[in-house]
């Protein structure tokens, strides 16, 4: 029996070579889901370009034929795969574009292709130069540069170094727009900023800065093909501590106080502090640590003396706020979080599925609303579990929050037995309901994929929607880019 190809199969094969295009049903199916229980969305063909020119050709072909494009990176999204156009859409798998384009040690810039894994980029920079780039804690291993930049509202900034956001770290991007044209922004190579301004550190712009238009854009306007990052020296010394508290109030008070001195204690070098619930502590330490509210903190320093001083200052603050240093299991967990050789917080975050299949209930409230968000979310989850007949032994969870003086994240990761399809359906239902519930209170997720974008777009003002529509019409006139994202 002769198989019927996707209408664009031969044209796409001419662009990338037959080896790198497939319309086999099983290949398309393998691109149909993300790491959540959301139902599959199976597109019609998958193509793996290796160069800017190939991406441009694919976008031009898609425009000529009005065929939707669904960009794909590490497929680490957490809100369901892009809807696209089932049976027809072109999945553009960017992971073949995985080169480091330029390492500028003088100006501490690195420019990389969008399909490179962030973990690989970081590992190579660390091994070859002792440098790192700005990363989110999760996802870490799975994400590509492009997926991370376009898929998270702050390119990961809000999670990893909340005080600064992405601005200082993502210096520029190169994008193939939906209209097939190529634009370079910010301080990437070839942009007007770097060619005319002597020092990119000045962040002097000769035009409005539009890099962030593409950060968190979820492929709405085009396909990211390159990102330029600011690099920083990997800290020589890492130190950590775990502090325990009798009540959430004491722990939160301490957390807030620590946040206020982040700028002094942790300038530039990333640090972390996580406030974990008693149940979370028990789960993380396999029942070895007492069930108490715990703050894990980690500091990076140039030498032992600096690290000791930072930890000493943190200890003093904790003591003033009514907390104390935790027991060995908790301290050990803090050590794991800060130490990349033991997995690190990144590993923990990247593999939040470490205990099996999981669903993330995570939103980003303003700092002052974190306690309310945390407690009411917890109550909401418990109530819905009860209503839907989900018993405690069917799921386990980690609960924690993190953030800075202005805002943060409350996170509930629910692990479940994914062989129980009835349970999976209930969690899928809860996941959608939770974000609706949270959005009504002004709490939105940080990751911009699938359902999350549709949800958030519903809360845009009509004026903002019009503005976005104008941009969309200008940059992607045929609306071929990622249909269904942000309700476009």
């Amino acid at each position: 029996m002769v198989r019927t190809h996707h209408p664009l199969y031969h044209e796409l094969a001419c662009i990338v070579g037959p080896k790198y295009v497939s319309d086999e049903d099983f290949v398309c199916y393998a691109y149909s889901r993300d790491s959540t229980p959301y139902p599959p969305s199976v597109q019609g063909i998958v193509v793996r370009p290796v160069s800017l020119e190939e991406v441009v050709s694919i976008v031009q072909l898609a425009n000529q034929t009005r065929t939707p494009i669904i960009p794909s990176g590490g497929r680490a999204s957490m809100f369901g795969a892009s809807p696209g156009l089932p049976g027809k859409g072109i999945v553009v798998d960017m992971t073949r574009m995985n080169k480091i384009v330029e390492v500028d040690l003088e100006n501490m810039h690195v420019t990389v292709e969008a399909g490179l894994g962030k973990a690989e980029l970081n590992a190579r920079l660390l091994r070859n130069y002792g440098l790192e780039i700005h990363n989110a804690q999760m996802p870490y291993y799975a994400v590509t540069v492009g997926g991370h930049t376009s898929g998270m509202a702050h390119g990961g900034g809000s999670l990893y170094d909340p005080a600064h956001g992405p601005g200082p770290y993502i210096l520029g991007v190169k994008v193939v727009l939906g209209n097939g044209k190529v634009v370079e922004t910010g301080n990437g190579p070839g942009t007007i900023s770097t060619t005319r301004i002597s020092s990119p550190y000045t962040h002097t712009r000769v035009a409005p800065e539009v890099t962030n238009l593409f950060v968190g854009s979820a492929g709405l306007f085009g396909i990211l093909v390159e990102v330029t990052y600011l690099m920083f020296r990997s800290p020589k010394v890492r130190a950590s501590e775990a502090y325990v508290f009798d009540s959430f109030e004491d722990a939160w008070k301490t957390y807030r106080e620590m946040s206020k001195i982040d700028g002094a204690l942790y300038i530039q070098a990333p640090s972390f502090k996580v406030l974990a619930s008693p149940e979370c502590m028990s789960a993380l330490t396999f029942g070895m640590a007492p069930k108490v509210w715990t703050i894990f903190t980690g500091v990076y320093a140039l030498d032992e003396e600096e690290a000791d001083l930072k930890i000493k200052k943190a200890n003093e603050m904790v003591e003033r706020c009514g907390g104390k240093i935790g027991e060995s299991a908790a301290r050990e967990m803090a050590g794991v979080m800060i130490n990349p050789e033991k997995g690190g917080l990144r590993d923990m975050g990247a593999t939040a599925g470490t205990m099996g299949m999981w669903v993330l209930f995570e939103v980003c409230p303003p700092a002052t609303e974190i306690p309310e968000c945390f407690h009411t979310s917890r109550e909401w989850l418990n109530k819905r579990f009860k209503e839907l007949g989900v018993s405690e032994d069917e799921v386990s969870r980690t609960e924690f929050l993190l953030g800075d003086v202005t805002g943060g994240v409350t996170s509930f990761i629910i692990y479940y037995d994914s062989t129980n399809l009835e349970l999976e359906k209930k969690l899928y239902q809860m996941h959608r309901e939770y974000y609706e519930w949270a959005a009504k209170r002004g709490w939105f997720p940080d990751v911009n994929h699938g359902l999350a974008t549709k949800l958030m777009a519903r809360y845009w003002t009509p004026e903002f929607y019009d503005f976005m529509r104008t941009l969309k019409d200008a940059l992607d006139p045929n609306h071929i880019m990622n249909p269904g994202i942000y309700n476009f």
């Binding site: 099983f26 998958v46 497929r75 973990a119 091994r127 799975a142 470490t354 994914s418």
Partner: protein
């Protein structure tokens, strides 16, 4: 019923976190060699394969020739299992064992008559001559002609395997000479058949069972069976019990035996070998059986040898590319993967790669030839025999 059905739970437990594609840090340098050297679609590595398996179990997909071709790119190296982001909290084991899923899918494909030609040829050749190399069964013992090895069952038996019997006879000879020099009485089977490893990896389950039953029956009476082929060793230790139940003898790899003898002071190697070598962990010995220490101990005991570690090594080691039927299905890809290994060895200044598996040695040698590399390639037994004055 599909073979895959038995692994339904494993399939559903995959969290699709993607670590099996992109884990990379100071110890791990990429995960799936097939992914990097094939078309690189999601279906060329663990996560996509498991999702396809789910599609088949749920009736959304069917097996096809084309799917068989995709699945044939998996070397079953187990690095995806090693780097799996999911962990069973009760057992501490990774959630998903994709090589097992791949083997079950290949078995389904074989039974449905959809297998690729190299896989069916492998099976028919082995059925006919008891080896996959298209060699005469009568020639199996030619390598041992001048070694005066009894071929009756003794307390210690040396299971040679097809690759050492026909292709890497130097490793078989070295192993035999080591045992003789150590005054360990041992025998080899007069009617040894293929262990079945390449067949089980490529879906021929029924034939594998026949081979297993024959070999175990032939070895009855032995107290221990020594292997210098990692593939045969893994097959006996891990896979034979599912066909024949508990084995009636102990199994051990030559590196384990030698390591024990070194510790007991019964093996002394005196001839220096002045060479900077690196050890390639065969997947079947390393990740499959967790034997990392013993081969290194043996190499360190050889005077003059400087042992350096590649990045990556041990549990994170890069597969040679030859396993899982890839060598026969996609020989070019197998050599390309092995060529990565040469680069890793060069990076650390090694002048030779040492393995403990004749199949790995063959594939690495092919890469040396293909890239005009000046690296030397040895089986660990060759260096030990040399240092013992053989």
């Amino acid at each position: 019923m599909l073979n895959l059905e038995a692994l339904r739970m494993d399939v559903y437990k995959c969290a699709r976190c993607g670590c099996c594609r992109s884990k990379y840090d100071q110890n791990v340098r990429g995960v799936c060699p097939s992914y990097w050297h094939s078309s690189g679609f999601e279906t060329n590595y663990s996560r996509g394969i498991v999702l396809v398996a789910r599609g088949i179990l749920e009736g959304a997909l069917n097996y096809s020739k084309s799917l068989a071709e995709h699945l044939a790119t998996c070397t079953t190296c187990m690095n995806c299992v090693q780097q799996c982001g999911g962990m069973n909290l009760t057992t501490g084991e990774p959630m998903t064992n994709t090589p097992r899923i791949v083997e079950a899918m290949r078995a389904d494909i074989m039974e449905l008559g959809l297998a690729i030609e190299p896989h069916t040829t492998l099976a028919s050749r082995t059925e006919k001559d008891h080896n996959p190399y298209n060699e005469r069964h009568e020639a199996r013992l030619n390598w041992a002609e001048k070694l005066d090895i009894p071929n009756n069952v003794m307390d210690t038996m040396f299971f040679v395997g097809c690759t050492q019997s026909y292709r890497r006879t130097e490793a078989a000879i070295a192993t035999a000479k080591i045992l003789q020099k150590l005054n360990i009485p041992f025998g080899i089977l007069s009617d040894e058949w293929c262990c079945g490893s390449p067949l089980l990896r490529t879906g021929s389950r029924k034939l594998t069972g026949e081979l297993a039953r024959h070999n175990v029956e032939a070895l009855k009476g032995a107290k221990r069976v020594v292997f210098s082929c990692a593939g045969c060793f893994r097959q006996f230790k891990e896979d034979y019990p599912q066909f024949v139940g508990e084995l009636p003898f102990e199994t051990l790899h030559i590196s384990q035996l030698l390591s024990d003898l070194i510790k007991e002071g019964e093996l002394k190697m005196t001839e220096p070998i002045a060479q900077k070598v690196t050890y390639h962990d065969p997947c079947h010995l390393g990740r499959h059986l967790k034997i990392y220490y013993e081969p290194r101990e043996v190499l360190r005991a050889i005077p003059g040898i400087e042992l350096v570690e590649m990045y990556p090594a041990k549990e994170n080691a890069w597969c040679c590319g030859g396993g899982g039927g890839v060598k026969v299905s996609y020989p070019k890809m197998a050599v390309e993967i092995a060529s990565d290994k040469l680069l890793h060895a060069k990076e650390v200044g090694a002048t030779a790669i040492v393995s403990a598996c004749p199949f790995c040695k063959t594939n690495i040698l092919d890469a040396v030839k293909a890239t005009n590399s000046d690296l030397e390639v040895y089986d660990i037994t060759e260096l030990v025999a040399k240092s013992m004055g053989e």
